[in-house]
């Protein structure tokens, strides 16, 4: 039942995405209902992310939308990882919306993409999170199992 619930919800989302998407968001591939790839661009005049396109990977579990999907940036030859104080160099994103506590079943792929666009637009620091190298080297957990401490309400 829950698995069908997630499939039905994702099917409706995919149908809506195919009809229209907000500006700056493009669907790259959605061959199944488990892993989707999307491209996002920052349309404002932020010099850090101007004229750049970033690749996002969504992985949905059986309990979606009750539980949040796994969202990470993917590094490709023409798709870099954005430099942001809350985005690690391996693509993991520290955002309470994607955490267990901050997630809401009302959210969807569109709202997550828009939140990330807003997160990038509002940034003015050209730096990685503190301890990025150590974290990337030592991290063995899946993005959904990492318990971040969300402390920054500005960036």
């Amino acid at each position: 039942m829950s698995a069908q619930f997630a499939a039905k919800r994702l099917a409706k989302e995919l149908q809506k995405i195919n009809n229209s998407l907000p500006p700056g968001i493009e669907l790259v591939s959605a061959d199944n209902l488990e892993e989707w790839l999307l491209d996002i661009r920052v349309l404002d005049n932020n010099p850090l992310y101007q004229n750049q396109t970033y690749r996002l990977k969504f992985r949905f579990g059986q309990s979606y939308p009750i539980e949040p999907p796994e969202v990470v940036f993917v590094k490709l030859p023409d798709r870099p990882i954005p430099i942001h104080p809350h985005i690690y160099s391996n693509g993991i994103i520290c955002l309470d919306l994607l955490g267990q506590q901050g997630w809401s079943p009302v959210q969807n792929v569109e709202s997550v993409c828009m939140s990330l666009q807003s997160m990038l637009t509002g940034n003015t620091k050209n730096e990685r999170p503190p301890g990025d190298e150590e974290f990337v080297r030592a991290n063995r957990l899946r993005p959904r199992d990492i318990e971040f401490y969300y402390h920054d309400n500005n960036v």
Partner: protein, 476 residues
């Protein structure tokens, strides 16, 4: 919190129990229990409201924010937001806050009663029956009754109490017994269940009758392919002379008539066939000649080997010469005629058969070459005949063209002469011009004189025309 929510998720009926104090909720359990009683009889599966297909657009305000489908058993939170009962219960298991505004929701007793006007809007939405094959459409409030009691495509329990499989209601008749038992098809003796018998007849049974989609003829299914590829008069096919250049590609009936009436490319096609046959014969002959050549080479090799053996035979004869050292040359000459006949005799016997064989082979080659010459002569004759025919036709056409050209020349010369005569007449009229005013001055008598002169001149021109016409016959 989770423990109280768990039983609510399991069954929708218990959700109404906590809300029993509310008068509105008291009314709703009764119809649900009635439906449950009815469904127990048929034991039909419940409708999945999230998979229903709605007809026409649905107002966004009637969609559940969690499952994005129109509300099913809606519940309103204390903060005023509405969700499906199942959706909000599932969400509260993870986090006891409203998914939209994150207001805390402590207990189920905080749920509010939904206004009836919204319930009516939801009940009036048009939906399609979820069963495949059923095209029934009705309002959402009636779809459950249709699905559980009237739809013929709903899966219900098999009439046989021991069989646990499900079957469509229209096929579930008590008289027929268990519909999942195996029976043998009366046409092809294949084992099929009773439920699948109809589809088996319509699709895969090779012994059942089927009709051709193009000409409507009825026949056994396993003969249908051959009929379509060879016999169907309505099937598409090409003229059998398409290799010769005929481009007719229509229905087989029309093609048959086309071939009977005489295809323009029939003669060429037949010629091509004859040429193909001749080519085959020639290829065979060439192959045979190659084989003969190979054999001759092998025999030549064998001949080369035999002279080598003859010296060996002469070898033992030499010791015989040693017995007479004084008259060795004369002895050798004398010994040779003694041995030579035997060797020649043996050689003759051995050579006889290969010689005869070679002669036979040569005779065969001669006969084949003669046949080839004859065929070449025939081919040349055919070609010369065709050339003569074409040349004759061309000559006739040339003669016709020449005669036409002659006629045209005569016409042009005649026209030129006519134009010259006209020009001379025009000059005469110009010379008579100045005379006319003098005559007019003389008076009416002059006018009367002028009138008879004009026809005279015209008559003169007519005479000249007749003279010209008279000249034409001798030229022709």
């Amino acid at each position: 919190m989770p423990p109280p929510n768990t039983p609510e998720e399991g069954v929708t009926a218990p959700t109404s129990r906590p809300t029993s104090p509310i008068p509105y909720r008291q009314a709703s359990p009764q119809p649900s229990s009635a439906i449950a009683c009815a469904s127990r009889g048929d034991s039909a599966l419940e409708i999945d409201y999230q998979s229903l297909e709605y007809i026409g657009p649905v107002d966004d305000t009637l969609l559940c924010p969690v499952c994005r489908t129109p509300f099913h058993a809606p519940i309103t939170t204390p903060c005023g937001h509405t969700f499906c009962a199942g959706c909000i219960n599932r969400a509260l298991e993870m986090q006891p806050t409203c998914p939209i505004d994150r207001q805390p929701i402590n207990k189920t007793r905080d749920y509010r009663r939904l206004p009836l006007i919204i319930k009516d809007q939801l009940d009036r939405l048009k939906v399609k029956c979820p069963n495949t094959g059923c095209d029934h459409e009705c309002s959402r409030e009636h779809i459950e009754g249709h699905y559980e009691r009237r739809c013929e495509f709903t899966l219900v329990r098999c009439p046989d109490a021991q069989c646990s499989k499900r079957i469509a209601r229209r096929d579930a008749l008590a008289e027929k017994g268990c519909m999942h038992r195996d029976v043998s098809c009366q046409y092809c003796d294949e084992a099929v269940t009773v439920v699948e018998l109809d589809t088996h007849y319509d699709r895969s049974c090779s012994g059942a009758t089927a009709s051709c989609t193009e000409c409507g003829a009825t026949m056994v299914r396993h003969r249908l392919e051959k009929h379509k590829s060879q016999d169907c008069p309505e099937g598409q096919t090409r003229c059998k002379w398409h290799t010769a250049g005929c481009r007719v590609a229509e229905k087989r009936r029309a093609v048959w008539e086309h071939e009977r009436s005489g295809c323009m490319f029939e003669a060429i096609g037949r010629l091509l066939q004859e040429r193909a046959e001749d080519r085959k014969v020639i290829d065979d002959l060439v192959g045979r000649l190659a084989g003969v050549e190979i054999r001759t080479r092998r025999r030549e090799q064998r001949r080369e080997r035999r002279p080598e053996t003859s010296p060996q035979q002469l070898g033992p004869a030499l010791p015989g010469d040693m017995t007479i050292p004084d008259s060795s040359p004369t002895a050798a000459t004398e010994l040779r005629p003694i041995e030579v006949p035997a060797v020649f005799l043996g050689e003759n016997r051995v050579w006889g058969s290969p010689e005869d064989y070679m002669l036979a082979q040569f005779e065969r080659m001669d006969t084949q070459i003669e046949d080839l010459r004859k065929k070449m002569l025939e081919m040349d004759a055919n070609q010369s005949l065709m050339l003569l025919q074409t040349n004759a036709r061309l000559n006739e056409q040339l003669a016709e063209l020449a005669s036409k050209v002659g006629v045209l020349n005569m016409h042009t010369t005649w026209l030129m002469n006519m134009q010259r005569q006209n020009h001379t007449q025009q000059r005469a009229t110009t010379t008579a011009g100045p005379v006319n005013p003098g005559m007019s001055r003389s008076g009416d008598a002059g006018a009367t004189r002028e009138s008879p002169e004009n026809p005279i001149r015209y008559n003169g021109s007519g005479r000249r025309n007749s003279d010209g016409r008279g000249e034409n016959p001798p030229r022709l």
